[in-house]
Symmetry: C2
Subunit: 710 residues, 2 copies
């Protein structure tokens, strides 16, 4: 009898473990068992103290203002949009302050905001500013923002749960959260089951809400999809949206954004059902995704802005604060993550934040380990990837990115084998990013501008090869999504870091191979960026290779002769219509140089071609009636022929000291860059440095001896 | 007998006091009596320790390299130019290291460099790159650099004097310093006696060298001029180059530069002949000059870049490090100067640096007291001046500068009543500064570019009123130097800071009055910049008022309709030829607005005119064959009429948070800006804010009630 009772009880517990766990609040980022420790940590560890102070200040500010829950009306950046964002942010701040301070006023604030929403939500129809019936929200113009709202709000609710009267909880759940769950899973069924970041936000909101409200049916569908067959849902998203290296095909900007629902839901799953071992799933995929997100940033904290990206986005972004805290506390305590946490200058006031702040205070941080690596793209890791070369300490690092990844769907840019170059904690050869003023209503409602399609996505807006003034894949997403570049070679040696990749489908009859390397040479302080772009074709083509640059032109091997008056657009289409042709110079020889001054340092790009060469100097701004585009300048190497190779060496040298008014090494050290030979087997270039002739040879068909440099 | 002996001895001492003092080395920035204390301070006070470490590192680096004293050959920024600069800098570092460490190797280094110069100097003719026979140097292309060289070198010599064998001293003095003194005072007699910063450098070099070499004849001529009649020389320079407020007519960039010989020579005079009370001279003029130099900087540390100015010059510049250290230690220990020293992050390893570092370590610093003030220009303070309005803490300060000063000779720009506006530690309405890449040989030898005259000096390059597309005084220095604007009114109240000034001579038949104010209004976080530019004339004219801006245009009250293709220059001359006309918009009404986003903050300029209004959007770059000009954009208010008033209110509001992707107050709060009335007696403007109508009235003829605002 006793025995039977025990068995029944155990079975009962196992069966209802979710339900039982769910009785404990809070149980997400901050758990009941750790509240006392976090309260103590807030008085002990500087970063946690300061992070809590920020949260508490926000909470106090919120409490001092009247509660406003407006009927949804405005689009992105507009008043009601920003107010509803403010509300979820305020609720989470107040709810956190409630747990740490124990002061009921904070819980009351959250209660009152939620009751206000509960009194209105069911009356709200689809948002009047929705762009389609399929993805409109009710609180916001797009349902995505509703999902985000719910993810923050449910956390706040979990934190104040114990401080609310049961009757109010009932009202809030029945009049707000249950209708929201219904809206997300039924009205937004398509989104819920879509393998896409909107889907992730939706199902994470549903899943976490399911845990907190103890509605395990919702948890199950969130994890395995509406049909519970695993073809959609959270696990399918982890399987399909990330590469085995944890790369998210839309690129770092969206990877950062997509990450948050993944890690928050993972944390919830881990707390409620640790037996699922979610952090172990797919060979620790979530940990890799966080790591890869950091590896796709530069030392100025910004993410590499490939594809549609807001350029000033950094890893200080809240998603990465969650990511880094959880990666360190819940997955693996790699001490270089503490460096990132220090740079972020905040932690989440939570179990994880406590651990990070404590270990930072204990002095465990070491500089973040930026790596030279090739990050594979594609669910199976077979769709190209990003080649990232790095050299130097984090305080003054050179970084080169070659984009040999897949298209990344609708937010992808047509910049196969595009190159980015960074040095001295700044951009040297930048990416334009997206044409968008995020959330600024006067600029197309804060959404993507028309020039995002007509310019920012086009090939010529990138440091990528343009053939016959048309973009890769004619700028069509469909065909572009079907194919990816191939990695030919990758190597990471101390003095020779190389990535070489091929793109054969972007144009009908041209194969492009780009081989970029950071090469340390005796007697030079900084590595050389040696870049060889080879195009092979049976037909004649016009080849344009732009180098978008920051800084000021201070040296050229040819007379610039910029156009004095009557500036015209460089072309009619494919982004060319947005470029002013400031100067064009047909060179007498097949080589030359351009010298730049950027952030008090000199950069000279020596270049050579195997066909006659023209250098065009262009700037952004033509055919832009609303002045939507931001400034930018490029020198563009132009040539005509069948096969075409552009070789360039970018030398980093000397600098100016404006405080002391001194200049050092204003002139480059390299000279006589020449293409000795370039065909399908080999490219051989030579240059002179301090009296010595160096030869750099690429053997395209010899993986054992791909590069020889002597 | 005894008494006589005493008298003789006393007389002897008085007579030879200079000589006797001169026997002591070192006796300039670092004095023998203080060496022990500075040595101790270097181990005690962080800023002195760190400053010495920098000096010692430089010295050690110098000692590790071969001594190179090349035959002078290159112009500014070229190899021999930079090497000779490096030599004096290295000698001073090594000499300082000698005094602090006591290690003879440092003195030996200085000795060897000096002996090398002594072995060659007399053979060097005038520099081959000199631009004229009158001001060519022998070590450098212009004698100015020779003077600077000597000022640094003589300090180094003084520091190592006791460590050199007498025979070497003899060689160095006879073969190097004496010929230099002769060159400076005889071959460069004109410069020596010119009331101009080149003259100051010359005589300070001569005077300090005279003290150190105990040649008081040279000291006398340095102080009183070659004829010793006081019409030229150091005291005459102090009398004539500075205004009673310590303003140097060429502007802050050159004031900073001119300051160093003044303060170094003053320190030498004070050490050798304290009885001259040089720091008290002309009502403590030198102290005022240092203070004014700081007051003409913004909180981003840069000097207001009016006239020819290199824009990234800050008060971290060595001249101000000397200035601040001496002002604090030798003139008056104002504790807010310690804040500047802290920002400079270095002190001179010297008596003064010791005191500054010690007091900083003792926690005596308070934030630097930026003031709202009118700085008078002209030797008698009668030639206009600079009106500077400030509001807010140093961490987020608004600053407005109205340039109502004299022309400032050849480096002056034609920007009477020009306006600069700063906020959020950045430029909002900037000054172009000089068209020059200092010391970059590939850009016109590092000197001023042709576009400095054709563009940077012209009125249209500034936030100043242009009449009939011609510059003030037709851009002729002669007539411009003869006259200055008049200050009409200045007021500094907590909520209303105003400067109003008149310029009646810049154009033959137009009188301009500009009245600019920072006005705090209830309910707005930041003050409003209310700017009224009135032009009075009996004839019809074209009036253009450009607002050069930083940041991105995000809002306009009119359709922008930027030119799609075929961009043309705005005009043919007076700087207009360098502007592209991107858009022109004839407004239906006499008012409008332009909204900007700059460093994540919004600025909306509301404007109104009493004649029909056209808004032109322009950018820099036309007729610039070598691409010498840097980027810049302006909106330009244009109108035609006899009298013309442009009223504008620039509202600072809201902002974007790119990390958290939020936007606040993207739209302005003000509306309905209207010119109610504007004539020679009054200008009345009104605007609406939060339902209330405000009236801002200028009474040009009523000094007791100049502005009324309600």
């Amino acid at each position: 009898m006793n025995y039977l009772k025990k068995v029944v009880l155990v079975s009962f517990c196992a069966f209802f473990s979710i339900s039982l766990m769910a009785q404990t609040h809070p149980s997400l980022m901050l758990t009941k068992a750790n509240v006392a420790a976090v309260r103590k940590g807030v008085t002990t560890y500087p970063l946690l103290r300061q992070s809590y102070q920020t949260v508490k200040n926000a909470a106090d500010k919120a409490l001092a203002e009247p509660i406003v829950v407006p009927v949804p009306k405005d689009g992105g950046g507009g008043y009601t949009h920003e107010q509803h964002k403010k509300n979820y942010s305020n609720m989470l701040s107040a709810a956190t302050a409630y747990q740490i301070s124990g002061q009921k006023k904070y819980a009351d604030y959250v209660k009152n905001v939620l009751l206000n929403y509960a009194s209105q939500y069911e009356k709200w129809p689809l948002h009047p500013k929705r762009k389609s019936e399929d993805d409109g929200g009710r609180i916001f113009w797009q349902s995505l923002n509703d999902f985000v709202w719910q993810i923050y709000t449910i956390q706040a609710y979990d934190l104040v749960y114990d401080g609310l009267p049961a009757a109010d909880r009932k009202t809030i759940e029945e009049k707000l959260f249950v209708p929201i769950l219904k809206f997300f899973t039924e009205d937004r069924y398509e989104v819920f089951n879509k393998i896409h970041n909107h889907g992730t936000w939706n199902l994470a909101a549903v899943g976490i809400t399911g845990y907190v409200l103890n509605k395990k049916e919702y948890v199950e569908t969130a994890i395995k999809g509406s049909k519970k067959d695993g073809k959609t849902g959270y696990l399918a998203q982890i399987d399909q949206l990330f590469s085995p290296d944890g790369y998210y095909m839309e690129g770092p900007y969206y990877q950062r954004y997509a990450l948050l629902p993944f890690v928050l839901f993972a944390k919830a799953i881990n707390n409620y059902e640790p037996s699922r071992k979610i952090f172990e799933y797919r060979d620790k995929l979530l940990s890799k995704a966080i790591q890869t997100s950091l590896q796709t940033s530069y030392t100025d904290k910004t993410f590499f802005p490939i594809n549609d990206a807001i350029k000033d986005k950094t890893y200080e972004s809240i998603e990465l604060v969650y990511g880094v805290d959880l990666a360190y506390a819940d997955i693996k305590p790699e001490v270089d993550l503490l460096d990132i946490a220090k740079q972020q200058n905040r932690v989440i006031v939570s179990d994880a934040g406590l651990k990070v702040a404590a270990d930072l205070a204990a002095g465990k941080a070491v500089p973040f380990k930026y790596q030279t690596l090739f990050i594979k793209d594609g669910a199976k890791g077979e769709d190209g990837g990003l080649g990232i070369l790095r050299s130097g300490a984090n305080t003054d690092q050179q970084a080169v990115l070659i984009k040999a990844a897949s298209q990344g769907m609708g937010h992808g840019h047509f910049d196969r084998l595009g190159l980015l170059f960074y040095d001295n904690t700044t951009e040297i050869f930048p990416d334009y990013g997206a044409a968008r003023f995020l959330n600024i209503d006067t600029k197309n409602g804060g959404g993507y501008l028309p020039e995002n399609n007509t310019y920012a996505k086009q090939t010529v807006a990138h440091n990528a090869l343009v053939v016959d003034e048309t973009s890769h894949f004619n700028a069509k997403v469909g065909p572009a999504d079907k194919t990816s570049p191939n990695l030919l070679y990758f190597s990471n040696q101390p003095n020779l870091k190389i990535v070489s990749a091929k793109e054969a489908k972007a144009y009908a009859d041209v194969t492009m191979i780009r081989t970029s390397a950071l090469v340390k040479v005796d007697g030079l302080e900084k590595p050389l960026l040696i870049d060889v772009m080879q195009a092979l074709s049976a037909k004649n083509h016009q080849y344009d290779l732009p180098f978008w640059y920051k800084g000021q032109l201070v040296n050229t091997s040819f007379p610039i002769k910029a156009k004095a008056d009557g500036l015209t657009a460089l072309g009619n289409n494919n982004g060319y219509q947005h470029l002013w042709l400031n100067a064009s110079n047909k060179l007498d020889v097949k080589a030359g140089l351009v010298g730049l001054l950027n952030k008090n340092r000199f950069y000279t790009t020596h270049f050579a071609s195997d066909n006659p060469l023209e250098v065009k100097l262009v700037s952004i701004g033509a055919n832009d009636p609303e002045m939507n585009l931001v400034d930018g300048k490029a020198f563009m190497l132009s040539s005509n022929g069948q096969n075409q190779t552009f070789a360039s060496i970018t030398e980093t040298h000397g600098g100016t000291d404006p405080i002391n008014e001194t200049v050092s090494s204003a002139l480059p050290s390299i000279s006589e860059l020449t293409i000795v030979k370039s065909d399908a087997q080999q490219t051989v270039v030579s240059f002179k440095l301090k009296g010595k002739i160096y030869t750099y040879q690429i053997n395209y068909n010899d993986k054992q001896n791909y590069i020889s440099f002597k």
